[in-house]
C-alpha cells in the first residue's frame, strides 16, 4: 500500500508540474508540428518493436489498451 500511495502522489505531483508550464500559442507551434516531433513517428515500426518486447520481456503496457495477445507471450 505505501508503494501505491507513493506512486499516486508522484503522479499528482507530476501533473501539477506539467500544468505550471505555459503551453504554446497556436502561432508558436510550427516546430511542434514537424514530423520529427511526433510522439508516434512510424506506426508499423512501433507496433513491430512493441510486439517483440512484449514477447521477450515480462513488462507491457503504457501505450494503449485492447491490443489483444498472441501465443508468443
Amino acid at each position: 500500500m505505501p508503494l501505491k500511495l507513493v506512486t499516486a502522489l508522484c503522479i499528482l505531483a507530476f501533473l501539477e508540474g506539467c500544468a505550471s508550464f505555459p503551453g504554446a500559442q497556436p502561432w508558436e507551434r510550427g516546430n511542434l508540428a514537424k514530423p520529427i516531433m511526433s510522439l508516434d513517428t512510424d506506426s508499423l515500426d512501433s507496433r513491430f518493436v512493441t510486439h517483440i518486447y512484449d514477447s521477450k520481456e515480462s513488462s507491457s503496457g503504457g501505450m494503449g489498451v485492447g491490443g489483444g495477445g498472441c501465443g508468443c507471450n
Binding site: L3, T7, I11, F14, L15, C18, A19, F21, P22, G23, A24, Q25, P26, W27, E28, R29, G30, N31, L32, A33, K34, I36, M37, S38, L39, D40, T41, D42, S43, L44, D45, S46, R47, F48, V49, I52, Y53, K56, E57, S58, S59, S60, G61, G62, M63, G64, V65, G66, G67, G68, G69, C70, G71, C72, N73
Partner: protein
C-alpha cells in the same frame, strides 16, 4: 472549429513557411494513446491526408543452450521471424477516419523449455501468425471518439480484442486528456503444441480488461510531454504449456508422490500496472529532436521493471533523417520463478525432489523456469534512416541489436541460470501519403 481557425502561420528565422495546423503535434501525441497508434497529427477533424504503408520485418535471436553445449546446433540460433506488414490510415470526409494494419508472421526455430535450454524437437517447424486490427474514429469539436478491434490467429492460439477511447481537448488545445478501455479474449488450444496430443488437455482461455488514462501536454513551443497510466486485470490460464509439456514428459517428477510436477504453473490471474512518460524536445539550432521515455511497471507476479528509451531525430541533406536510438530495460523476477540451475541448465532436466518440494511449498504450488520471468537487464542500440522522396513517398530502413542477460540488471545481480540472449531486428519500409 473550422479549418481556417485551426491553422496558424509559422514564421521563423529560417524564413516564411507554409501555414501549419495549430494543434498537429498535440494530436499526434493524443492519437498515439489508446488502442492502435496513429501516425498523423490532426485536431478536431479527420487527418488531411491518408497514409498507406508497407514494411518487411525480419527478426532473429541467438542464445546458447547451456555452458557445455558449445552451440553445436546452429551456433545458438533460436528463432527467426519474417513479417510483411501493411498499414492504412484514411480520412473519410472531415469527421471520420479509419486506420488498420495487417501482418503475417512466419516463425521458425524453437523457444527454450526451461531456462535457456532449447528443445531439440521443434527446431525445424514453421509456425504462422496472422493478425489485423481496425479502428474508426469520429471527430467532434473538442473531442474524438475511437472504436477499435483486433484479431490474431495462430495454429494453437486465437486472440480477439475490442477497445474504445476518447480524447478531450482543453486549454486552447495545449492539453489532451485520453481515456480508454479495452477487453481481450484469448484461446489457447490444447492440442496445438503437437497436433492432437491428448496430454495437453482441453482448450483454455484468458480474459483481460484494460484501462488507460493519459495526459498529453504542450509544455512550451519546443516541448511536448505525454504521460499514460494503464492497468490490466487478467484472468485465466497464464501458464506456458510448451514448458509444462516438455519438462513434464521428460521427467514425470512426483513431488510428493501422486502429484505430477509440471514445469510451468502460474497464477490464474495477473494484474499489471504501467506508467509511461514520454518527452520530446526540439532543438532549433540543429533542427533536431530528442525523444526520451521512461516506463515504470509492476504486476501481481512481483515483477517490477524500468525502461528508459532515447532517440535522436536529425534531418541531414537530401531529405534524409538519421535516428540513432538507445534503450535500457531492467526487471526483477517473478516470485515463483526459480534459478533451478544457477550455473546454466544441463541438457538433462533432473532437479532435486527435496529442493522442488521446498520451493513449491513456498509458492503455493506455483513455479516457472521461464527466462522472461527471471531477473535481468537488456539494452538495445539501433539506427534508422528515413528518406523523403517526391510525391509524398517515404522510405526507411532500420536495424536494432538487443542484448539481454542477468548481469545487466539494475541495482543488483540478476538471475544466473539463463545464458546471454541476443537478437537483431531489421525493418525495410515504404509509405505514401494520399
Amino acid at each position: 472549429m473550422s479549418a481556417d481557425n485551426k491553422n496558424s502561420t509559422n514564421s521563423s528565422s529560417a524564413g516564411l513557411r507554409r501555414p501549419v495546423p495549430a494543434s498537429h503535434s498535440l494530436m499526434a501525441a493524443a492519437l498515439a494513446l489508446p488502442g492502435l497508434a496513429a501516425t498523423l497529427a490532426h485536431a478536431e477533424s479527420a487527418p488531411e491526408k491518408g497514409i498507406i504503408g508497407f514494411k518487411y520485418l525480419n527478426y532473429s535471436d541467438w542464445q546458447p543452450s547451456n555452458p557445455n553445449d558449445n552451440n553445436q546446433e546452429g551456433n545458438g540460433k533460436r528463432t527467426h521471424v519474417t513479417s510483411p506488414s501493411f498499414y492504412l490510415l484514411a480520412p473519410i470526409g472531415s469527421q471520420w477516419s479509419i486506420e488498420g494494419s495487417a501482418v503475417a508472421d512466419s516463425v521458425t526455430g524453437a523457444t527454450p523449455y526451461y531456462h535457456s535450454l532449447l528443445s531439440k524437437a521443434s527446431g525445424g517447424q514453421v509456425d504462422y501468425r496472422h493478425a489485423m486490427d481496425l479502428k474508426a474514429t469520429r471527430y467532434f469539436e473538442k473531442m474524438a471518439i475511437g472504436v477499435g478491434t483486433s484479431y490474431s490467429e495462430e495454429h494453437d492460439y486465437t486472440s480477439r480484442a475490442l477497445s474504445v477511447d476518447g480524447r478531450f481537448y482543453f486549454d486552447n488545445n495545449n492539453t489532451v486528456l485520453a481515456l480508454g478501455t479495452g477487453v481481450s479474449n484469448d484461446i489457447v488450444r490444447g492440442g496445438g503444441v503437437i497436433q492432437n496430443d491428448p496430454r495437453l488437455g482441453p482448450d483454455v482461455g484468458k480474459h483481460s480488461n484494460d484501462y488507460l488514462i493519459g495526459i498529453t501536454r504542450v509544455l512550451t513551443p519546443l516541448d511536448v510531454l505525454q504521460s499514460n497510466v494503464t492497468y490490466s486485470a487478467g484472468r485465466g490460464d497464464f501458464s506456458e504449456r510448451y514448458k509444462e509439456f516438455y519438462a513434464g514428459i521428460q521427467n514425470l517428477i512426483i513431488v510428493p508422490p501422486s502429484i505430477l510436477f509440471e514445469g510451468d504453473v502460474r497464477p490464474q490471474s495477473r494484474y499489471q500496472f504501467a506508467w509511461l512518460t514520454r518527452w520530446n524536445h526540439y532543438f532549433p539550432g540543429v533542427d533536431g529532436a530528442l525523444h526520451l521515455s521512461y516506463r515504470y511497471y509492476s504486476d501481481s507476479y512481483g515483477i517490477k521493471s524500468h525502461t528508459i528509451g532515447t532517440e535522436w531525430f536529425q534531418p541531414i541533406a537530401y531529405g534524409i533523417t538519421l535516428v540513432p536510438e538507445v534503450r535500457f530495460y531492467s526487471q526483477s523476477a517473478a516470485h515463483f520463478y526459480t534459478d533451478l540451475y544457477p550455473n546454466g541448465a544441463p541438457a538433462v532436466f533432473n532437479p532435486n525432489p527435496a529442493q522442488m518440494t521446498s520451493f513449491l511449498a513456498s509458492t503455493g504450488g506455483l513455479i516457472s523456469f521461464d527466462q522472461r520471468l527471471s531477473a535481468y537487464g537488456a539494452y538495445t542500440v539501433g539506427l534508422k534512416v528515413i528518406k523523403e522522396l517526391p510525391k509524398d513517398i517515404t522510405m526507411d530502413v532500420k536495424g536494432e541489436y538487443y542484448d539481454q542477460r542477468g548481469s545487466y540488471r539494475l541495482g543488483g545481480s540478476g538471475s544466473t541460470a539463463n545464458l546471454p540472449f541476443k537478437a537483431m531486428f531489421l525493418q525495410l519500409g515504404i509509405s505514401k501519403k494520399f
